[in-house]
């Protein structure tokens, strides 16, 4: 609980104003993130509307069991993130780092599963581009589905990597004893970010894996 880090930056009146500013800043940023993913969800909606049969056929190539497992893993990581925030708020400072590490580990589990899914798609020539092969009448349209699949899940994964970076930074600061019930804004807003990333997946999973599945 060093004084240096609970101190208020020169341009703020008090700690409360500083905390409110940081929180609002993260919410404003998440609004832009919603619009960012909103654009690609919009593209997905248009293509799905144009080619419902091809999208259903392509969607059937995805592995629902792996996707559902990953959904469960991410929901658990949201819980551990929330517990890290809770630990900071209630002065259980020794618990912050373990919860953050658990969150990262769950995120890595997600990545391992995702890696096997991606590799499987590469082997089946389902990665869009010159080598793409899709049996049946809907080849070109199915490629659109897989383009969107890789762009959407790839952007989601990129956001998770950024989340790992933020959590590593939090772990370093937590070890130095920067966080307490008096000052925990970075933990709180990183939590907001991580929950957002999870919510994106909650939308991606049914759109990519479940819609149109017979």
């Amino acid at each position: 609980m060093s004084k240096v880090h609970s101190a208020v930056a020169h341009h703020f009146e008090d700690a409360e104003q500083q905390r409110e500013a940081a929180t609002l800043g993260m919410w404003a940023f998440l609004v832009t993130e919603v619009m960012f993913f909103g654009g690609v969800f919009g593209a997905y909606a248009v293509c799905h509307f144009l080619y419902p049969d091809a999208f259903a056929a392509a969607s059937n190539k995805l592995n629902v069991v792996l996707g559902a497992t990953n959904t469960a893993v991410l929901i658990c990581s949201s819980l551990s993130m929330a517990l890290a925030v809770r630990a900071a708020q209630t002065d259980k400072v020794k618990q912050i780092v373990p919860w953050l590490i658990l969150t990262i580990v769950l995120g890595l589990v997600f990545f391992v599963i995702k890696y096997f899914e991606y590799m499987h798609k590469f082997h089946e020539h389902l990665f869009p581009g010159a080598s793409f092969v899709f049996e049946g009448p809907h080849g070109a349209q199915a490629q659109l589905f897989f383009t969107l699949y890789f762009v959407m899940t790839g952007l989601h994964a990129t956001h998770m990597v950024i989340g790992f970076g933020l959590m590593l930074w939090l772990i370093v600061r937590a070890r130095k004893g920067h966080f307490s019930s008096a000052y925990n804004t970075p933990v709180e807003i990183t939590g907001l970010y991580w929950h957002f990333v999870d919510i994106v997946w909650i939308f991606l999973f049914p759109l990519l894996y479940l819609i149109g599945r017979a």
Partner: protein
Amino acid sequence: MTNPLQKSQDYLNAEYGVRSWFFTQDHKRIAILYLISITLFFFVGGFFAVLLRLELMTPQGDIVSAETYNKLFTMHGAAMIFFFLIPSIPAVLGNFMVPMMIGARDLAFPRLNLLSWYLYTIGGLFTIYTLVDGGLDTGWTFYAPYSSRYTISNVVPVVVGVFILGFSSILTAVNFVVTIHKMRAPGLTWFRLPLFIWASYATSVITLLGTPVLAITLVLLGFERLAGVGIFDPALGGDPVLFQHLFWFYSHPAVYIMVLPSMGVVSEVVTCFARKKIFGYNFMAFAIMAIAVLGFLVWGHHMFISGQSVYASLVFSALSFSVAIPSAVKVFNWTATLYKGEIEFRTPILYAFGFIGLFTIGGLTGLFLASLAVDVHLTDTYFVVAHFHYIMVGGAVMGYLAGIHYWWPKITGRMYNEAWAKFSALILFVGFNLTFFPQFILGHLGMPRRYYVYPEEFQVLNVMSTAGASILGLGYLIPMVYLIWSLRRPKDAGDNPWGSTGLEWTTPSPPTTHNFEKTPVVTTEPYLYDKKGSSE
């Protein structure tokens, strides 16, 4: 850290050396960094414009090839829109003035503010790399599938550059929204805010909602080009109209990102130099927000002939007409503010007059283009070119120059040469109209945009336009000279040379690093000008 007791110390001489500028977290110094960068891009974009106009002096192609011409108008548009107009007022004047006008010591996130400038610079370097490496010829709109499949020019570096630049805009917008929400001085309620703050707020909201959609569009475009797939390519099952929808969802609101801040500046300037309270303050504030909201609902008017559903076009046309209502409210209220004012004809208000007149013409010709049948005739003609230059150059750039001249004494502590400044305002107005008014006629006669040759009967009007462009070019060089020249003077501007009422004028000129030694307390509404209390 500055010592507040030393009166002579200000943000410019608080620290010296390269590091004190490139690692500064002072919003005022970051504004200066932005001022230098965007001025550079303004002249890069202007240089391309000069080449375009030179080529169009004669009906044949004589200076450049058709391919080079395509690259010139592309790079002119991209440099001017992404690297000058969009950041111009927010990143320079807004960065400097938003905290000062609301009684804050800095923006909420100074480090993000500095990062924003670095991202701008990195995005700019990608664009300059493209220039050196042979340019881009898709038009600044990157329409697919030409951009994703057919062109052999440098699409990906520019797309990466604009993507990075988008983060710079977003960070500035987050900073403004948070600062305006959370850091206003005690007593400064929303309806006591200067209209420039309302305009900056509305602009930031548009930036937050629109820029990410452009970003994802560019991601999809880049992926499509690199992987050879076709989300937007009809040959591969994609939908080119989808690209246009996504692109204009950002790029139409971006017009309001460019022009709303200018409206804010003009509101400040008009009320100050008319020595009169702004007419209809509440309506002015609501009109700004109305333009921001309506601006998001009209993007389809760029696609009346692109195969968009005719019913969608009907709705987009009607909504486009409705944008005229808040815009007209603003023009009427500026006029009513001037009515029976004691107008002082100083340089800033001359530029503001230029804005009001040219914006009105630009806005009214926008109604022609919003009409479905008329637009079929005018689409992709010089009428469109003239229309948006009246909004962006006649409107946005005039407003930017009004703001630069209004706040220059606060930013630098120096007055510029008033006679030269008035002269340049005048020749900019003349040069601008001579350049772009003939283009309305050319467009109406049917001259298409984006061609480097044209039928001989169009030559007279084209020569007029090119002549106007040379006057306009001169008009932009003169302020460069006298503004830089003014820096040689001692700091002679005084704290409040215009007798303005804003909080920013209660600080020394130039301000100290912390802006306000004591946080001001606001007890009144803005713009309480009494006619007799004029400046010295």
